[in-house]
Subunit: 182 residues, 2 copies
Amino acid sequence: MELKQLKREILYRGRVIDLIVDEVEYPSGIKGVREIVHHPGGAVAVPILDDGRVLLVKQLRYPFGNHVLELPAGKLSPGEDPQVCASRELEEETGWLADHWEKLTSIYTSPGFCDEVLHIFLATGLRESPHGHKRGEGEFSMTVHSFLLGEAMSLIEQGEIQDSKTICGLLLVSRRMLWRDR
Amino acid sequence: MELKQLKREILYRGRVIDLIVDEVEYPSGIKGVREIVHHPGGAVAVPILDDGRVLLVKQLRYPFGNHVLELPAGKLSPGEDPQVCASRELEEETGWLADHWEKLTSIYTSPGFCDEVLHIFLATGLRESPHGHKRGEGEFSMTVHSFLLGEAMSLIEQGEIQDSKTICGLLLVSRRMLWRDR
């Protein structure tokens, strides 16, 4: 790396994120500051029902004070396999299980200041869990919604779906289906 | 909002981000903590040359200690119009100007803990700026690359492009071109 780390301070260790501030030196000799938000990473499911509909969840997102429509997803527990995490989050948030899992890609949500990586999986062969959903205290306002993939594409184009992992996952699956149908 | 804010602490005011930690009360009466990273937001250009190639930049991303391939983008200055910001960042980072700008969408990069919103624009009618690029100290390692849209799609599918705003912008433009060509 062509950026020299001179000093590191861990300013905050939190529930979800840590804040790290480094003093750095550029190749020119000039000094600067870099702020890093450390996040454990997470996993995302793109759950497609046998009839072609995709399951999304809507929940209160505190930073926006608003409800946001997203793919089911959640944070990785320490050492957790991303596919196991995606499967766990799908069941906890929607009450559905999937028989088939296929990795689509991994994304960096905001690489300028944050090391969060999200692993996105296509989930098919869906069936309802005998246990139903198991939402956490913070997910009290969550609701499940289903859309045809074409409807979801319209919601993206109309700006009704704005979450980046959700746009990435839905567009990747839609693209794949488009080629399959040709 | 069904989540009651009991207390707010601003733990850090930084160059790029601020860290805010709130004590909250859920509808059940249980108390919790919410961490918010405040970011000023930014703007993103999807610059398509007349021959159909897209311009991307590769730069060192400090949180990953690695070079990342991305659409030209940058932070909003206070009060700055997002399209003006996208145009400014395109010229500063690549040395290209665009005659036509069209808003594609706005995305939330990580709505669970961060209020960052990125405004994505399609930029066409490209011509080289007489001034060349004007990169900042932190952009010392930046290089410009051009790809046919089909090549960029392959880079996404192979996991060579992992930045979320870049995947969103490229897939939205590719989808639009696909329909236009039918």
